[in-house]
């Protein structure tokens, strides 16, 4: 909502600079988004006075004028019918570029010299009027720049009016808040017009068929109007706040709407068939063309303004093309109404048409401000169009809406704000805002109907707080307490996983939950994915079934920027459809790609592989305190055969594996990539609190042994057997070498193990360990035909 400083000041005489005014408005809850001087782009436009006018010697529709621009007199050929001697007019001199791009040149028009151009409003970019030159007020001095004559130091203030303040969609409403703050009087414009004696009831009949959707409908008749460009004062006021000037009639309805917040509509009376207005709902599927030449399809909820034959307007939204005021309009039927806010909103949404009028009606205009706005508009139309106002107005208002009474306890103000506002101050504040207050300590407050947002005691307290000043409420920290807050398991688990993975060198990523359908389908395991009905784009149309696509996109982004050695993870939500619901779980996923160790002067680079990832996963599970888990086989749509699952009691905790090349290609990734994924809740079942196990006091005995087995023999089988036969003192077994070669025979491999024995009670003897080693080797030979490597 835009207002100008001067316009606002015409309703209340505050003593504030534009900057102070803007600050005050913001601190009243009318947030100022911008404050700018009113400026017109009138470069090269000088005010001239027409001193002579002749008919063009070769073209009688053209005039040749002598125009005094102060420094000299120019000879200008002018085609406008309304140019007259004595007028003050805007003159574009040679070299001027007009808003439409035309550059003015010294030229000959049909053989006669023309040294400039007398401009219309359209040519100056002020309005769309192009049927004549713009005639300035006689009081302006000629010879000066047009900009200097028009600019009076006014400022435009753009206010972000919140949806609860329909009253501030009218400048008087904003002025009321300012007057309440600055304790200056609110001066509503006085009504002063005469009626011509012709009774309106002879001219129009009005029926409301759906009073619940239209509680009030009022009308006036202004006859013998001359539809023409608006006077400059009106053009200037509307243009300054961003409203295009159309003609004097439409401009007045817009002006009064901006002033009062009450939308008005002017019909061409001649186009209202049967001299009657019927306010009723549309037929389902009814079509109607609004004055912007758009045809809408309506439903039976939409309220229409109809004449005897047909609809002439969509009530509260927009007038029809069929009854629009035109240059030939002679008589005006002026409408001011109060429509049900919810119904206007539904209609506006249904037809996808939001107008200045509908925005006001759907927030709630003042049902008792109708007649003031109607009279004000009638008066101004008569003034600017020479029209005559018929006597009386029609006002159909079967069930008047009365002001609400709300009780306000002074004590409750203190209770809610934390500061005692004196009763007298409460009374004064509400009074200044237009509320009628009676009583002491416990007030009976009559809420004016222009404030539909105030219905409860708490709403009145907000009004008191606003004017009392939020700055004047103290900051009290006594609601804060020092107390230990325990963290949820989920939170502790998230923190633990994050710190563990960071310590492993994984970096934390945050990616969108919304991904493309194509991406979602690869990771959805053939289940339907959850889709957004109204997505921003195809790229953000599905909820992710897995965190991996987001990580792959992150890899692509980084590889494209020459960072191809990556260890990344994310903890976030994943979704899948389960019947009518969407199941949401927290996942933890990570990826590993490129070098696990980068080349440096003292280090040789090494590619990351599935064993790196396996090591990280094993350590992560250990740190999360998960016990008795095991690896198992795994298959998925997006991993290849290098993939394994992690299970516990037959329940899948997660998996790790190499992502298929075809999937990587879809994400533009051309290097091997390994990923893991776990369900967070399942990792949260572990024992985060650890029990201490004693550190051995006696020295360990270590043994290295290399055995030769069939090359397809799983290492885990050997490890299991070693553990089984190793006795109570075998505490650790490591695989430290794998070798294949002719020396040990074809299809064979050698595995070298490092075994550590110790006891917590004593130093072991060499003999004990030897005998244990013997048992191990015998068992390996018996079970796996393992031979000691010679």
């Amino acid at each position: 909502m835009k207002v100008t400083y001067n316009w606002l000041k015409s309703y209340t005489d505050f003593d504030l600079t534009p900057e102070e005014l803007a600050d005050s408005l913001t601190m009243l809850g009318l947030e100022v988004e911008s404050l700018q001087p009113v400026s017109w782009d009138f470069d090269g436009i000088i005010i001239g006075k027409v001193t002579q006018k002749f008919v063009h010697e070769n073209e009688e529709r053209l005039s040749v004028c002598e125009v005094d621009i102060g420094s000299k007199t120019l000879n200008i050929v002018c085609g406008a019918p309304n140019v007259e001697v004595g007028q003050k007019v805007p003159v574009a001199i040679e070299g001027t570029r007009l808003p439409n791009g035309t550059v003015i040149k010294h030229t000959k028009i049909r053989g006669v010299d023309s040294q400039g151009m007398i401009c219309s409003e359209a040519e100056l970019g002020i309005s769309s009027r192009s049927d004549g030159i713009m005639v300035l007020d006689d009081k302006v001095e000629f010879g000066q720049k047009l900009r200097d004559a028009l600019e009076d130091g006014d400022s435009v203030i753009d206010i972000d009016v919140t949806p609860n303040r329909p009253d501030c969609f009218g400048i008087i409403g904003i002025a009321r808040d300012i007057s309440a703050l600055s304790r200056s009087t609110l001066k509503k414009p006085a009504l002063d017009f005469s009626e011509n004696g012709r009774s309106i009831s002879d001219l129009i009949k009005i029926n409301i068929l759906n009073p619940e959707k239209c509680p009030r409908y009022a009308a006036r008749f202004v006859g013998d109007v001359e539809v023409k460009p608006s006077p400059w004062w009106l053009v200037q006021k509307l243009e300054a706040i961003g409203i295009r000037s159309i003609n004097n009639i439409v401009d007045v309805t817009n002006y009064v709407m901006m002033e009062t917040g009450q939308p008005l509509h002017a019909f061409d009376y001649a186009l209202i068939r049967g001299q009657e207005i019927n306010v009723k709902t549309a037929a389902k599927g009814e079509k109607f063309t609004t004055l912007d030449d758009v045809t809408h399809t309506l439903n039976s909820e939409c309220l229409m303004i109809c004449d005897r034959e047909d609809a002439v307007a969509i009530g509260g939204v927009m007038g029809g093309l069929n009854s629009e005021v035109s240059d030939s309009t002679k008589n005006i039927l002026l409408e001011a109404a109060y429509f049900d806010p919810v119904n206007i909103r539904r209609t506006s949404k249904l037809i996808g048409c939001s107008t200045e009028a509908s925005r006001r009606f759907e927030r709630g205009v003042d049902p008792n401000g109708t007649l003031f706005a109607l009279d004000r508009a009638a008066q101004l139309i008569a003034e600017v169009s020479g029209g005559k106002i018929a006597t009386g107005c029609i006002d159909v208002y079967p069930t008047p809406i009365r002001p609400k009474m709300v009780e306000l306890r002074s004590e409750r103000v203190k209770h809610l704000l934390g500061v005692a506002v004196p009763s007298a101050e409460i009374k004064s504040i509400l009074g200044r805002l237009g509320f009628k207050v009676s009583g002491e300590e416990i007030f009976q407050v009559e809420v004016p109907t222009f404030r539909p947002d105030v219905t409860r005691e708490v709403d009145l307290i907000e009004e008191v707080a606003r004017l009392f000043g939020y700055d004047n409420i103290p900051a009290d920290t006594t609601a804060l307490i020092e107390q230990a807050v325990s963290k949820s398991t989920h939170e502790q688990c998230t923190t633990k996983i994050t710190s563990t993975l960071i310590s492993f060198g994984f970096s934390e990523t945050v990616t969108y939950n919304l991904i493309s359908r194509k991406e979602a389908e690869v990771f959805s395991s053939n289940r339907p994915t959850a889709q957004v009905i109204n997505p921003l784009s195809e790229d953000l149309s599905n909820l992710r079934p897995s965190l991996i696509p987001g990580l792959l996109k992150t890899v692509q982004w980084n590889v494209n920027r020459q960072n191809s050695n990556l260890k990344l993870f994310e903890i976030g939500s994943v979704f899948r459809k389960t019947g009518k619901n969407i199941e949401e779980r927290t996942s933890i996923a990570g990826i590993l790609t490129g070098y696990s160790v980068e080349n440096a002067w003292n280090i040789k680079a090494r590619n990351s592989d599935i064993y790196d990832l396996k090591g990280y996963v094993q350590e992560l599970l250990a740190r999360m305190g998960i016990l008795n888990w095991y690896f198992d086989t795994h298959t998925s749509d997006f991993t290849n055969k290098q993939s394994i699952s992690v299970k516990k009691n037959n329940d899948l905790l997660g998996f790790l594996g190499e992502v298929k090349t075809v999937v990587l290609e879809q994400f533009g990734i051309e290097q091997p990539l390994f990923a893991f994924n776990f369900d967070l809740e399942k990792l949260a079942t572990g024992q985060l609190q650890r029990a201490f196990s004693p550190v051995p006091k006696f020295p360990p005995i270590k043994r290295d042994v290399a055995i030769v087995v069939d090359e397809r023999m799983p290492a885990q089988s050997l490890l299991d057997e070693i553990k089984e036969k190793g006795g109570e003192f075998l505490k650790n077994t490591k695989v430290f070498d794998i070798f294949q070669g002719e020396s040990i025979g074809a299809e064979k491999k050698s595995l070298a193990f490092n075994l550590t024995f110790y006891s917590l009670e004593r130093t072991l003897t060499e003999e004990e360990v030897e005998s244990q080693m013997k048992q191990i080797l015998e068992a390996l030979e018996a079970k796996f035909s393992a031979k000691l490597r010679s």
Partner: protein, 342 residues
């Protein structure tokens, strides 16, 4: 005959001089060992003088003893010192290029958004707030209705919503967690809720269709607007330092009454006015207010007995302020060159 103590003393002076000149000349460990044996060995010079203890007068005995012990300590200290310096010299032989880069440790980096979330959690936790969570897929009831945002009300336009099938939607704010918390517990309530939210905003430098919010809620007997001001002021000062000011301006939210927007004094210019704060001295943070009685109605709290306040804040906004990040998209791109800075 007893030897003159004075004569012995003068001899010892000469011995000390000889030790000093010889030890100064030492070039290697072997020479040092020779000196040690010569002076401090079992048959060394000092030991020889200890043997003379018997030949001085009874009165001079303790004096001589003292002098000899001192001398012995002095020689030993000097020999130790020379030994350390000889070792160091030998280690420094050969060229070691310390300008070669160090081996980088393998560490991971955190997304600054998450760092800020953790910091906010930590601050509120220290003020007695526990953390609650809620689903991202929400119902109209939790996201709008129970927050006093009726259907067909213009306030729905404040947030452009992503809808899913079967009347589900992606939460537009963390406020549904308020309702879920109040439904399951009676006052006093003192919680924050952090997490992902969604609004249909086309991504640009300051908008993201997915973003994070932190929501706070306090409900108890006797909670007032002044407590809201105190809480957010205390928070702002813990996060940005003791000189931060907080400004509250009237505003409108369907779920609070009275409602406020709150601003922090500009952390760049300390409120004097700069480009970041558009010369206002203030940075807009978010909305807050006293819980609307209508909201209490939905969770069966008696609004006459209990009052409360709630606030929201955008994590991205706070993180951008804190680190001087100029584009919200950085958080979601996870460019390693960006992450590496945190």
């Amino acid at each position: 005959m007893a030897e003159s103590f004075e004569i012995i003393l003068s001899e010892l002076g000469a011995l000390e001089g000889a030790f000093k000149s010889e030890s100064d000349e030492v070039k290697g460990p072997q020479a040092l060992e020779e000196i040690r044996i010569k002076y401090l060995g079992r048959k060394g010079s000092v030991a020889q003088y200890f043997k003379k203890m018997g030949s001085v007068s009874t009165a001079d005995k303790p004096k001589l003893g003292n002098t000899l012990n001192k001398l012995k300590d002095e020689f030993q200290t000097e020999i130790d010192r020379i030994q350390v310096s000889l070792q160091t010299k030998s280690e420094d032989n050969g060229f070691i290029d310390l300008t070669l880069p160090g081996t980088p440790p393998q560490v991971g980096y955190r997304n600054p958004l998450m760092l800020v979330m953790d910091e906010i959690k930590e601050i509120f936790s220290s003020m007695g707030f526990s953390t609650e969570t809620g689903p991202l897929v929400e119902t109209e009831f939790y996201n709008f209705e129970a927050l006093n945002v009726p259907a067909d009300h213009p306030s729905r336009d404040l947030q452009d919503t992503f809808y899913l099938e079967n009347d589900l939607l992606l939460r537009t704010h963390t406020s549904p967690v308020q309702i879920r918390t109040m439904q399951k517990q009676k006052p006093p309530v003192r919680i924050i809720a952090l997490g992902r939210c969604f609004r249909k905003d086309t991504p640009d430098a300051s908008h993201s269709p997915e973003f994070h919010q932190c929501e706070g809620l306090v409900v108890d007997k006797g909670i007032a607007f002044s407590h809201l001001k105190g809480t957010l002021l205390a928070f702002a000062r813990k996060l940005f330092g003791p000189n931060i000011q907080v400004r509250f301006r009237p505003s409108f939210f369907p779920f609070t009454e009275p409602s406020a927007e709150y601003d922090f004094s500009c952390i760049i210019c300390s409120g004097k006015g700069c480009r970041t704060c558009k010369k206002t001295g203030w940075l807009e943070i978010s909305g807050a207010g006293m819980v609307d009685p209508a909201v209490f109605g939905y969770v069966d709290y008696d609004a006459e007995i209990y009052t409360g306040f709630a606030w929201g804040m955008g994590i991205e906004r706070i993180a951008m302020m804190k680190y001087g990040i100029d584009d919200i998209r950085h958080f979601y791109e996870n460019d390693f060159r960006f992450l590496k800075q945190f």
